[in-house]
Symmetry: C2
Amino acid sequence: MNDNTHTQIFSDVSHPVLKKTLDIICGKWRLYIIFQLSEQDRRYGELRRMVPDVSEKVLIQELKALVALGVLQKKSYNEVPPRVEYGLTEKAREVLPILQQIMVIGKTFLVP
Amino acid sequence: MNDNTHTQIFSDVSHPVLKKTLDIICGKWRLYIIFQLSEQDRRYGELRRMVPDVSEKVLIQELKALVALGVLQKKSYNEVPPRVEYGLTEKAREVLPILQQIMVIGKTFLVP
């Protein structure tokens, strides 16, 4: 991203880049779900157990939203019984280091 | 942040680091306000003009929240009439490159 792009973003809060960024990061469970899938794909039931404090309704809604945003993909395996797993898309893998890096922000502000 | 810290964060969504990170980034206007103050301190009236689509109530609320989080500081100048400006704290300046970097996320996902 060059300086010119930065200027455009900074001068328009409704800029699609800012909106898209916030859509992906914000939401109590989004980063958490992404991090849980950073090492391997997971079935819904596994994710349900890994995110114990979330209601079923909210987890399904967040997974759907992340799929719609292009962050996650559902992969169906032709097995009996059928197996469906959630995994990160290629784009999500591309930005994963940045997503992990932003944790430094919280860390910096927690230090007294 | 070492691998161990990452593991801790990724295994607990209520981890204060994750919560603090989201508090700072999330909120439609927070990143926008931070970027507006990245080059110089601004008076309330200037910010009001720079963020034209926000209601006065919400802008004041967001500025207060960012001050409480330690992202912004209010500086009072002993002038007549008194001058008060908002500016980034030292910690905010420290993480500014990361805050700017996360725009790459939205950019990546907007590319078809």
